[in-house]
Structure formats: C-alpha cells, structure tokens
Amino acid sequence: MIPTRQSKRDFLAGVFFALLGLGIVAEAQRIPAMTSGGTGLYTWPGLVPSFHGAIVLLLSLALIWRSTRQGGHRLGTGETVFERAGTPFRTMLVTLVLCLAFALVAVGRLPFWLASFAFLSASFIVLGWEEWRDAGTTRRSLVKVLAIAAAVAIGVHYVFQELFLVRLP
C-alpha cells in the first residue's frame, strides 16, 4: 500500500498535537494545589487544563492510529508531504516575510502611515512585478499602486486616528 499524502500529514499533525497535549498535562501538574484557603482540591487551577490536555492527547493518538492504518508513518516513501517548490508557495513565503517585517520591525519605529505606506507599496510591487513585466505596463502600474498605497495609508490613518480616535502604534 502506498501511503497517501493526506495520511502522512495526519500522522505528523497527530504527533505534534499529541506532544502538545502531553506538554499541557505536564505543565498543569506543576501548578501547586492551593488548598490553604480552605477550599477543596476541586479549585486546583490545573484541573481543567489537565482535562483539556488529556483529551487533546487522546484524540491525537486516535488520529495517529488512523493515519498509520493508511501507512502515514512511512514517511520515506511515496509522495512528498508538502508542496514546497511551486510559485504560489514562494509567493506565500515572500508575503509572510513582508508582513512580519512590517509588523515587527517597521511598526513602532516609523509613524504608522509611513510604515503602512512602505509595506503596501513594497508588497504591491513584489507581488505584481512579474505580471506587469509580461504585460509591459511596468511604469503605469507602478504609479497606480503607489497611489493606492498612499490612499490606503492615509485613509487608515484618518479613519482610525481622527474619526474613531484610536491611537495607532
């Protein structure tokens, strides 16, 4: 039997969640009993999390069991587990990097309208470049997206900061 890609993914996810469930249960055991206030053991703050963690663990074991019946544990053979090569995946990674750079680096250091303008124009250009080049509309598109980026950045600033009085980061 050739293991399907789905069963391999399920196997990996099952292992991950089983470890997570186990981790939750283990961490909950470190919470002190807190019975000094005269209350019973049922107020132990680790009670409910232990239960949730245990259920996650049990369900994950069920997922692992199901996937191994389809051969999901034989990771070496058959198809690849994840599609990594294609253009969409690359686009996603580039977007992720841009988003994280915007949220974690630019925001807070630059005024928000400037940070969002920079992020938007950079994303528009990176995501659209190839298409513009193929269509031969590079210059016109560039002007267009810069105008959109500026309009959105100013619009967001206006709506949140001026209209709804929310202070932006």
């Binding site: 000094s36 206030g37 005269g38 209350t39 009085l165 929310v166 202070r167």
Partner: protein
C-alpha cells in the same frame, strides 16, 4: 552672543509660569481603564473624561485594557511615553498594592493622583435570605460560615478586601469565597440567590437594593449611607465600634515623570472644574458614592490609607508576596 543667550534664558524663565498653567493638549489624550467597559471604574472615568474635554478643549478617549486584576492596563501606561497623553485609572487602593499582590512592580510613589469619587463597600444579602441585620449575619458566619457563599469580584476585589477585614475584626468568622467576573456579576449572583451575600461597592448594588432584590445590612464606614430611592443604610460601626476603614477612592493618575506643566494644569482643572462638576455629583449621588475630588498631596494621602489597609490585610491573611513594610507601606496606625 552672551546677551542673546541671557535674553533667551530670561524669556524661558518668564514664559514658564504662563506655560505651567497652560498645558494645551494638541492631540487626543488616552485614559486607560484597566477594567472592562461598563464597570465601576469605566463609568466614573467616562463622566470625568467628558468634563475634562470641556475644560481642556481636547478629546479624552477612554481605552479599556482589562486583564489580570487591572495590572495589564496599568503596565501599558507604565511603558507608554510619559508626556501626559496616556493616563491610568482605577481605584487607588489597587495600584498602590500591586507590589504586595505580586502583580506588577509599581507603587503609589510612581504616580500623580487625581481622585474623583469615593466608593464604599456595603454588606448586602439576597432578598430571600433570613439575615435580618448585620449582627445576625456575623453570628451565622461565626457558627457555620464555611457553608455560606459570599460573592466577590475575585482576589483583591472590594468585597474580598472588605470580607477579610471583617474576618480580622470578628475572630472565628468564616465564609465561602465565591469569585465572579466582576462586581456586577457578583451582585447578580446575590440577587438570584446563588450566593447569600456580597460586600461589593454600593455603586454596584444600588439598582438591586432599590429593587429590593438585595437587602443592605451595613455600610462599611463610620456614618450612614443615604441611597436615593432606598433610604439610609446603617454604618457597620453600630455593631463594631472599633471598625476603621479607609475609603476607596476612584480616579485617574499620571506617571511621576510626566511634564510639570501637565501636572500643574491638571491640578488647576481638578480644583476648579472637577470639584464643581454637577454631572459627577449627580452620578455619585445616584450610585451611592461620595463625590469628593482631590489632587496632589491630599489625593496621595487618601489613596495611601487604603493601600496600607489592603496590603496589610493580604499580609495578615498570608496571601502577600512580600512584607509591605519592605516596600514603604507601614502597618496602618490604629
């Protein structure tokens, strides 16, 4: 050159007093309420914000940052720029005792206080419960208190502090501590009969008292409390003559490093505008609170009395993270 410098220095010196009285905020000012929207702090601060807008001609925006007994919101004010555009708020007793409760490394000395109203705790019991007066209530708590559910808004809430204080004054008294998500849910639990009693703030119980769903037994103060539409609630001193409790003042505060002109302007606004606010007075009267604004050293003194009381209650109950006297909070004088 020297002359120019001197002239500039003179200009600065001359300009200072005028500038000191005239902080003109150029953008909206945020007041962080570290509790949920609609709660007791939120209500008071929204009234105060409206009055400040009138006085300073700038928007005062209330931002709710609830979580971890108010310490999340207070922490974010500590981390914000100290330029007078971000204020903290709540009950002075809470912010002053965060070090003792171990929630946050801050104390009274870190802030300039502007207090608006004083809230007092009321011992209220459900309409269906048998307790006729405060004495009966205490006697029953002494006899079989660990079976009597008392609703509070959680550790370090007004009701919890009040109950711990009563336990200290009535040796042998016990109660079953049941915690709710806030003052209002705790009062609802008493009205519905799930809990027998609460000692939350008068302002949180006012509606239920007027509707006769909660029966007030005593106000934890030295004099009776007159509640609109109900009448007088007897003071706890009728039964416990040696009961002393500070009032818990609600208001807003700015970090100690805030520019001087902000503080001076606010001092002035507080004593001229807030102290004479009809809206705030009407609000306080309807909610069974005392309208008693203060700022500067006076506000600090009033807040500190409550901080001492709360901190030492914790310490005596064995729930404090450290000895309050090590962080500059001496035991309150009897």
């Amino acid at each position: 050159m020297t002359r120019m410098l001197l002239a500039a220095a003179a200009a600065v010196v001359l300009a200072l007093p005028a500038g000191a009285q005239n902080w003109k905020p150029t953008k909206p000012v945020n007041i962080i309420v570290p509790w949920a929207a609609g709660g007791s702090t939120d209500q008071v601060i929204r009234v105060v914000a409206g009055e400040l807008e009138d006085a300073l001609g700038q928007k005062f925006v209330v931002v709710n940052q609830p979580g971890a007994s108010g310490s999340i919101g207070t922490k974010s004010v500590l981390e914000a720029p100290k330029d007078g555009y971000t204020w903290a708020s709540g009950a002075a007793g809470d912010v002053g005792s965060y070090r003792v409760t171990g929630l946050l490394d801050t104390g009274m000395a870190d802030w300039h206080f502007y207090l608006a109203i004083a809230n007092v705790s009321v011992v209220g019991v459900g309409a269906a419960t048998p307790y006729k007066d405060f004495k009966e209530f205490v006697d029953l708590l002494k006899a079989r208190g660990d079976g009597i559910p008392v609703a509070t808004a959680g550790i370090s809430s007004a009701a919890h502090n009040a109950m711990e204080l009563l336990v200290k004054l009535n040796p042998g008294m016990k109660y079953k501590h049941v915690t709710y998500d806030g003052g209002n849910p705790a009062v609802i639990a008493v009205a519905s009969g799930e809990a027998h009693a609460t000692a939350q703030l008068a302002s949180e119980q006012a509606e239920m008292i007027r509707a006769k769903r909660v029966r007030p037994l005593a106000v934890l103060a030295g004099k009776p409390l007159t509640l609109d539409g109900y009448g007088d609630i007897p003071p706890v001193t009728n039964w416990l003559p040696n009961f002393v409790s500070a009032a818990n003042y609600f208001g807003m505060w700015a970090h100690k490093d805030t520019p001087k002109e902000v503080i001076e302007t606010m001092n002035q606004v507080w004593s001229s505008k807030i102290a004479n606010s009809a809206k705030l007075r009407a609000y306080a009267t309807a909610r069974g609170a005392a309208f008693d604004p203060s700022s500067g050293a006076e506000a600090h003194k009033r807040g500190f009395a409550m901080v001492q009381e709360i901190s030492w209650n914790y310490f005596d109950a064995g729930k404090a993270k450290l000895d309050p006297s090590t962080v500059g909070i001496p035991r309150p004088a009897k």
